[in-house]
């Protein structure tokens, strides 16, 4: 098994995972989406809301704001010792928000949420929550807790978690007449012309769409497209709660824990 990072900028990560089976790659992809815990606002106490929007709508919008997550300090409520419905300091973070529009129209932003612990704060500060007209006021207290994407999409740490097989594109230069149709029709610019013959320049961009073969005038086409069943190109796009690389690490830890529990159960049966 080998990991090569292709690209890492801001919240997104592209890497190649080779030497694994498709079910294994898929397990990682699905755990990243559904089982890596993140913080999200779950309970809101409204003190004053004279805005044009209902309490429930504002609460829903607050829930979707991604919060930076610290998995070492906080516990999932179901794993916390407090066992209380409302949570304790180990499984809950509170936020306050108090915005009043005086004379002018005023926008309430996600950045107006003031956290009790600065480690858990809105990852994106400029999300508009509601627009207030003059003399309108929004005052509330919000409680965030850890949760999983399984339960609600607001706890999903990624907006994209995908993989594709590593494409293999080959051209038999002896049979090719160099018409250049494959260069013209490839939507991902996989080919380029060199010395009047097409060459593969961007193999990794190929989506296996076969458009080049469909437009090739030679029958059978000198272009051969296949994929490596043991190599995967992953693309992970975090919402901002954690860096994408951290998500992969956490997902692998969860997968390890799950496998371990299966092994232990199996031993008991035997």
């Amino acid at each position: 098994m080998k990991i090569t990072i292709l690209e890492q900028n801001g919240n997104s990560l592209r890497f190649v995972l080779s030497g694994v089976s498709a079910p294994f790659a898929n397990a990682i992809r699905r755990i990243i989406m559904a089982e890596v815990p993140t913080m999200a606002i779950d309970d809101v106490m409204m003190f004053e809301n004279t805005s044009a929007m209902f309490d429930e709508m504002i609460t829903h919008r607050l829930g979707l704001v991604p919060l930076t997550t610290d998995l070492d300090t906080y516990l999932l409520p179901e794993e916390c010792d407090c066992e209380s419905e409302f949570g304790c300091n180990n499984c809950r973070v509170s936020f306050t928000l108090d915005v009043k529009a005086e004379a002018e129209l005023k926008m309430v932003y996600s950045g107006d949420l003031i956290p009790e612990n600065a480690d858990v704060s809105p990852a994106v500060k400029k999300i508009p929550i509601v627009r207030l007209a003059n003399n309108q006021r929004l005052k509330l207290e919000a409680y965030a807790r850890l949760g999983k994407g399984l339960e609600h999409a607001k706890w999903q740490p990624v907006s994209a978690s995908t993989y594709k097989f590593m494409p293999i594109v080959e051209i038999d230069t002896k049979k090719c007449d160099g018409c250049g149709d494959c260069v013209k029709y490839c939507p991902k610019n996989v080919f380029s012309i060199e010395k009047l013959k097409p060459v593969v320049q961007n193999e990794i961009n190929c989506t296996l769409c076969m458009e080049c073969i469909r437009h090739c005038p030679i029958e059978p086409s000198p272009i051969k497209i296949s994929h490596d069943k043991k190599t995967f190109i992953f693309y992970i796009e975090s919402t901002g709660s954690m860096p994408a690389s951290k998500l992969v690490k956490e997902a692998v830890k969860i997968l390890e824990r799950k496998t371990q529990s299966v092994i232990e159960q199996y031993k008991k049966v035997k």
């Binding site: 044009a52 999300i127 003399n135 907006s159």
Partner: protein, 73 residues
């Protein structure tokens, strides 16, 4: 109000709305603005190009608001 996240993929898009609105109203090409703001997928792009800001209309009817001077309250 602009949705906080894309309905389909869950990407946070709310924070990019104000920049989008400003640049498009200044005459920039929509496609270029969306590419610049790194809104890549068409699920997210359609939210931007089809969004209507109803809140602005609603706020005109707030009593004693500066913006309602010329309106019947």
């Amino acid at each position: 109000m602009i949705p906080v996240r894309c309905f389909t993929c869950g990407k946070v898009i709310g924070d990019k709305w104000e920049a989008f609105k400003k640049r498009v109203s200044e005459g920039e090409e929509t496609k270029k603005v969306l590419d610049d703001l790194s809104i890549e997928r068409y699920c997210c792009r359609r939210i931007f190009i089809s969004h209507v800001e109803v809140m602005e209309e609603l706020l005109k009817y707030v009593k004693n608001s500066k913006n309602t001077k010329n309106m019947i309250t």
